[in-house]
C-alpha cells in the first residue's frame, strides 16, 4: 500500500504548480499509469479521494492506463503477453517499450 505515499508526492507537486500559477483551485489532475509501474489504479484513486485537500479539495483524478509492451531491440518484433522475453530470432532480451509510466501529465486549474 504505497499508493498513499504516491498521492502525497502527487498532491505536493500539483500544489506547488498551482501556487506558482496563482491558481484559486485545481480542478483535475491527469496521470499516466503503466501496467508495470507497480501501482493499482483503484487504490491510487481512492487514496487520492481521501487525501485531497486545500487547493486540490475539489480536484478530480483522471488516470490513463498504459498496457505493457515489449519489443526486440534489434528486429523490433513485439512480444505477445506472457511470452518468454527473449527474441527467438535475435537472441536478445526484450526491451520495455511502454508500461512503466508513473507520470503527472497535466494539471487543470482555475485562475483569477
Amino acid at each position: 500500500m504505497h499508493e498513499y505515499s504516491l498521492v502525497a508526492a502527487l498532491t505536493r507537486k500539483a500544489e506547488e504548480e498551482a501556487r506558482a500559477h496563482h491558481a484559486t483551485a485545481v480542478t483535475c489532475l491527469r496521470v499516466k499509469l503503466g501496467a508495470l509501474a507497480g501501482v493499482e489504479p483503484e487504490l491510487l484513486a481512492s487514496a487520492f479521494t481521501l487525501c485531497r485537500e486545500g487547493l486540490l479539495a475539489g480536484a478530480a483524478l483522471e488516470i490513463r492506463n498504459v498496457a505493457a509492451a515489449w519489443a526486440c531491440p534489434r528486429c523490433e518484433a513485439a512480444f505477445p503477453t506472457g511470452a518468454v522475453l527473449r527474441c527467438a530470432a535475435c537472441g536478445l532480451p526484450a526491451r520495455l517499450v511502454s508500461g512503466d509510466e508513473l507520470l503527472l501529465e497535466q494539471i487543470e486549474m482555475e485562475v483569477p
Partner: protein, 244 residues
C-alpha cells in the same frame, strides 16, 4: 484559457507537466547513487517477501567474504531492529530503519541512515528492503543493482504474480535450495516463469544453510564490483562530501 474541453473558459488553465510522480525520490536516489559510485561502494538493494531469507543470504555472504571485503548494511523493517542485530552478530556493521507502517524504503530514508554506517569505508553496502514483493520495486534508492530473494517455498508462480519487482531485478536468488527434496517445486519451472517477466534472466539457486550456490552469488557480486571500481578509476577522482 481552457482548451481541453473546448468551453473556452478564460479562468481555466491546463498546464502540461509530464513529470514523474516520484521525481523527488528520483532526485534523492540520484544523489545516493553518485556518492556510492564515487566512493567505489557497490550498493545492493535486496528485496523479497517477508521470510524469503534475505537476512540469511547476507549472513552467508558475510561468512564467505569475511576478511576479504568490507560489508555494511541498512535493514528496513516495519518494527524492530532484529535484522540489523543479526547482521551485526554476523560481523556486518548495520543500521536499522524502522518504517512504522511504510511498506518500502525510499531514497531519503536510505540517505538519512547513511549517517549511521561508515559506508565510505565499504566495498559493499547491502540495503535489505522491507519484506514485500510489491512496493519496494517502485522506489529507486540509488542502488547499483537490484537483487530479489525468492524462496523455493513461495512456489514457482510468484514471478508471474509479481512481475513488477522481477522485471527490475538484475539477479534473482532462489533461496532455501536445501528444501528442494521436500517440495513439489521445480527449479526449471521457476526459471520458466521468470523468463516471462525478466528479459535478461539471471537466476542463482542458493542455500544459506548448506552454502550451495553461495560461491556463484559471490562471483556475481564481485564481477559487479569490479565493473564499478573500473568506472571509478576511469572517472579519476572521488568527491568530498560531508556524510558519515
Amino acid at each position: 484559457m481552457c482548451d481541453s474541453c473546448g468551453c473556452g473558459d478564460p479562468h481555466k488553465v491546463s498546464l502540461d507537466v509530464q513529470e514523474r510522480i516520484l521525481s523527488v525520490n528520483d532526485r534523492a536516489a540520484r544523489h545516493n547513487r553518485e556518492h556510492f559510485a564515487a566512493a567505489g561502494v557497490l550498493a545492493v538493494n535486496l528485496m523479497g517477501s517477508p521470510g524469503a531469507g534475505k537476512t540469511a543470504v547476507l549472513e552467508a555472504t558475510a561468512r564467505q567474504l569475511a576478511g576479504r571485503r568490507r560489508l555494511g548494511a541498512i535493514a528496513g523493517d516495519l518494527e524492530t531492529d532484529r535484522d540489523a542485530q543479526r547482521l551485526r552478530a554476523a560481523g556486518v556493521p548495520a543500521a536499522a530503519i524502522t518504517t512504522g507502517s511504510a511498506c518500502h524504503l525510499d531514497a531519503e530514508m536510505v540517505h538519512a541512515a547513511l549517517d549511521r554506517v561508515a559506508w565510505r569505508e565499504l566495498d559493499y553496502l547491502f540495503v535489505e528492503n522491507v519484506g514485500n514483493l510489491v512496493c519496494p520495486a517502485v522506489y529507486d534508492l540509488g542502488q547499483a543493482v537490484n537483487v530479489v530473494a525468492l524462496s523455493l517455498t513461495e512456489g514457482e508462480d510468484k514471478p508471474l504474480k509479481y512481475p513488477v519487482m522481477f522485471r527490475k531485478a538484475d539477479l534473482v536468488l532462489l533461496t532455501k535450495l536445501d528444501l528442494l527434496p521436500h517440495l513439489d517445486v521445480q527449479v526449471e519451472a521457476v526459471r520458466d516463469a521468470l523468463a516471462r517477466v525478466m528479459p535478461d534472466l539471471a537466476l542463482t539457486p542458493v542455500s544459506a544453510r548448506s552454502g550451495a550456490g553461495v560461491a556463484e552469488w559471490i562471483a556475481w557480486l564481485e564481477a559487479r564490483r569490479a565493473g564499478l571500481v573500473r568506472g571509478v578509476a576511469a572517472h579519476g577522482h572521488v568527491h568530498a562530501h560531508p556524510h558519515a
